[in-house]
Structures are given as C-alpha cells and as structure tokens.
Amino acid sequence: MYQYDAHDQALVDQRVSEFRDQVSRRLSGALTEDQFKPLRLMNGLYLQLHAYMLRVAIPYGTLSSHQMRVLAHIARRYDRGYGHFTTRQNIQYNWIKLADAPDILADLAAEQMHAIQTSGNCIRNVTSDPWAGVAADEIEDPRIAAEILRQWSTFHPEFSFLPRKFKIAITGAPTDRAAVKVHDIGLRMHRDERGAVGYEVIVGGGLGRTPIIGKTLRPFLPKEHLLSYLEAIMRVYNTHGRRDNMYKARIKILVEALGIDEFRRQVEAEWEPLRDGALRLPPETYAAITERFAPPLYEQRTGSVATLVRDPETDPALARWVQANVAPHKVPGYGIVNISLKGTGQIPGDATASQMELVAKMADLYSLGEIRVTHEQNLVLPHVRLSDLPALWRTLDAGDLATPNVGLISDIIACPGLDYCSLANARSIPLAQALSERFSDMTRAQAIGPLHINISGCINACAHHHVGHIGVLGVDRKGEELYQITLGGRSDEAAALGRIVGPAVPAHQAIEMIAGFVDTYLAIRHPGELFIDTVERLGTAPFKETLHAAA
C-alpha cells in the first residue's frame, strides 16, 4: 500500500495544527463565521441540520486495516458509533462537535489520513476503480496515476480557488467501475495500436442541476503527458470558467458554451509550451510510484470463483453469496470480496464501529490487511484466497455483513437526504430502507439480476440518481416530499442519463411504481437480458404503460 513519505506527513501535521489554531480562534471570537467557514470547509467540516459533519478522504478508496480501525475509533469516541461511506469513496461522520474536530484530524493524521480537499472549490479526492490492482480485466493499476494526480493537485497553488469544485476519476479497465464519464475529467486507460498504455481523456461530465455525459477531449494521451495535459485543461477552465454564477461554474458548462472543438483548441494551445516541460512524467517517476503499489506476494494457487459456485459440495447459501459478492481476481485461486453495506432495511453505506473493526480484522486475516471503499457505498477485501471464503463468510454473516446482494436491486445507493443534510429537499434513507424491505427476497433479486437504484435527496445528486438504472430524486412541492423517477441511466462505459417517467409522487407510490417497472421488465425481457438493456431496447414506453394501468 502507498505510505506517506516525510513530505506528505509534514504537510498533514502542519494542516492539523493550523486548524487547531483556527478552531480556537473561532471559539474565542477572533474569527467570525464568514471568515471561518471557508477554513473549516477546507478541512472537510460542514454544518448540517443537527451537528457538524466531517468528511474524511480515502484516496482512491484504498484503506489499510489500521486506518479502518482509526475510522472505527473516531466513530466511537467522537460520534455516535457509526459512520457513512459515500459515493465519493469517502467516509462521513454525522454527529461531530466543532471543538473535537482538531483532535479527530490529529488522530487521522497519525494513521496517514486527513480531510484535506474533501470540500471547497479545489481538485477533490481522485476516485478510481475499487478493484484497482486486482481486477481480472485490468490493463494497469489506475491508482498509480491517481496517486500522481493526488500529489500534483494537493495544495496546488494555482488550483486552490477554482471557479467550482473539480472531480477526477480514473479507470484502468475496459469495464468502467469508476463512472469516468460523469466527472469533470475522466481518464480511461487503454492501449494504442502499438500496445503503449495511455488515457482517453474525457471532459465536462457531471450530474447535479445540469447533468451531462462527458465528451472525449483526446482519444489517446500517452502516459508521460498526464500532468501537463491536465494542467492545460485546468488553466483553460480556471481562466474561462464562470465565477459569477455558481450554477454555471462547473467545467461542463464551459465545455458546452465553447463547444468541445473550441475547448480542445484552447487546451492544445495551452498545452503546447507545457508538454515537454517540468510536468513531463519520465518512466522513472511512474516506476517509483508503481513500486509503492507493488502487488502483494500471492501464493501459487488454483481455482476460480465460478468453479466454487458450481461445486455441489459448496453450501448453497455460501454459493449464493459468492456468486453475488465475489468477483474474479487477476491471480488464480483468489477472489475479490465485496462486502454489502446494504443489509435488508439498513441505511445504505452506514457501518458501526464494531462492523468496521470486524472488517479490519477480516482484512488482516484474509486480505493482506487491505480494504477498499466503493462508490456504490460498499467495502471490498481485495485479496482473498478462495479457500478462505467459507470462514470469512461465516464471520461476516455474524456481523450482518454477508448480504448476498452486490449489484442487485437491494444494493441501493442513497445519500443522507433530509434526515441529515441541510441542502436536502426530501428524505432518501427511509425510501431506500422501504425498497430494500420490498426486495428482500434474495432469490428473486438474483432472478431480477443487476439493477441499480440511486436515490438523491436533492438536485445536487450526491447519489448519482441521473445514472441509476432507476433513478429517484427527492423534491419538495409546497412542503410535501415527492419523488421523481427516471429510467435508463447508467454510469459504466456506456454512460447515459435516465429519462423521467411520470410525475413526482409520494414515497409509497414511488415504491409501487418501481415494483411495477420490475414486473414489466420481467414480463418483457429477452432471456438473459439485463434491466438496463431492456430499457435501452424498448425505451420507457412499456414502463409508462404500467403507470397508466396502475393509475
């Protein structure tokens, strides 16, 4: 795993002592709220409905078991015994006291963690494939580039006050598990005709008020130009992005306004003098970072996830869990274990301190001490020997962490919504819980197959509802919580925005509508056809008919 060097550690320690001083000056009255707010936001601290919320960065979603134990300790000591894993591969604590925040940051820094750049108009935590480094279909570990980007963007003086926040995602595999087309910049690794590895650079994607699928800026960028090219994009954005209107300040609006061709022309012009300068990445730089992500020493083993599932000796409940939650590993005899934080009726993404500690212990026993956080709000143990799966599964089950539903209809992505969030229009969690109860039959869920429901409590789209196969947006109409449903969104390599079906409805009706859509799909799908493919093949019309039948 990546370890801080002395420079990283000094920066983080310095930031903690700075913030300690700022908090004490705020509490003593030396700083007003207007002066203090940007400072606390720079340290990931928001004021929500009932308390402060602290967002802790988990760079590219990779954690050690030690770090997970620190997250558990913070939940128990400073919060109410739990935390919430987010769609940005971060963790949020909901019940933080301002006065405790400096101590929390100090505890985090001691285990090489922080909350820097989790908020504010800067380049945020770079997100990546949660299976990075282990996925069977991967070209190269995308965290190497993510780490290079982290070092470049952290405290970048020119890009600390951008027109608006800026999110970068990177995938190293053809199957996009990092949603790169809905980020300000998305990087898709692939090979050119000579076999060299580089990136397709996608720009101007994003959700929120104006959802847009990103456009290809450059089909192939050689690896060595990663920083210089991104620096050029950032400069064009920083100069021309709108600062007068926060709703028009994201790069996607600039790209739309200029048109992708003109935007490209400006980036290329900016890039020309930069491309062979100090930002050029020689192979040695890549090699040095690659070393820090060196794969662990795997044992010589055999076997695959598929054979384990088919083996008649395998306990059927274990087989079901393996089938849904364990993905093929690049090394024979190993599997990637996805831990669902979506137990029936549970709050999506929430984990108690004891659950975090259990996952840390399982990581030490079975996954070489490593854990990942996914943007679906689940956890991953990336290096598990297939022979360890039965024991791991039993232990996870005792901690309510073995729900066999990863990628299925009850693996619902939901933001905190109006139960916590001061920007919300409607609640997300109760609707997610009700849907999870409604679809709690795992046999049926597996028969339905992969289906993503995403629920956001407002237009900010933290739960990425526009790209949910079924998307749900909470709205407030004259004090009534209503839910607007979309169909056909997806965030993978074929990213698309969902289309609205029907008027916004109260929660109980939204549940019936969704159940109706599922029934319609089961009735009209071709054998083996996924929900999203049926919607793509037939459009929303057959689903709208269900609505009329129900009305």
Partner: protein
C-alpha cells in the same frame, strides 16, 4: 432558507449552537433552548425586530450560527410545533432508527 413570511404568521428564531451544531431556539427569557416548544413565538414584525439585537449579539459572541426565522404552527396550549418536514427533522432529529454499535458475536461454527 427564509421563505417569504406572512406578516402575522407565528414565527420563532432558530440557530445552531456554534460549538457542536445542535439546533437551538430563542426562548422568551433570552436564552437558547434545544426544545422547540419552549421557543418564544411572535406574531408581528415589531416583536420580531425587538428580539433580533439579542440574537445577533449571541452570534457575535460565538454562541450560535446560522440564525434563521421560521414559521411554526402555533398551539397556545402546547406551544409551537414545527411546520414542514425540514423543521420537524431539525426539531426531533432524523426520522430513521440510527445504527447502534453493538458488539458482534463470534461466527457460527461451520456446518
């Protein structure tokens, strides 16, 4: 945030405590209470204006942040009640059962 209020609508003043973010309401005695039904309700602009300097002083003294005036349902006997989902949740907390950090039992032995 602040909606257009009818001039005679029953209103209260609310904020978050600076140190921990807890929701508080301005009481009749000029203190801050965590209980909405203890909040002072005003039904005219002069009364509201008269409350403001004290509240602003507490903002300046770093007692509270996010000062806001919100409309309430006023029941003279039971005291004010929240109007709308957001204020209901601010007053009573999340509507969901919060996770409880229980120790996890050892795994059941293998069959």
């Amino acid at each position: 945030m602040a909606r257009k209020l009818r001039a005679d609508a029953p209103r209260i003043i609310t904020a978050n405590r600076l140190i921990d973010g807890v929701v508080v309401y301005r009481a009749a005695d000029g203190s801050w209470t965590t209980r909405l039904n203890k909040a002072r309700v005003v039904t005219n602009a002069p009364d509201l204006d008269a409350m403001m300097p004290g509240c602003m002083a507490d903002v300046e003294a770093c007692q509270v942040v996010s000062l806001d005036v919100v409309e309430v349902l006023h029941d003279p006997k039971a005291g004010p009640r929240p109007l709308g989902q957001r204020e209901t949740i601010r007053a009573a907390g999340p509507t969901i059962v919060l996770p409880v950090d229980r120790p996890i039992p050892a795994a059941r032995p293998s069959a």
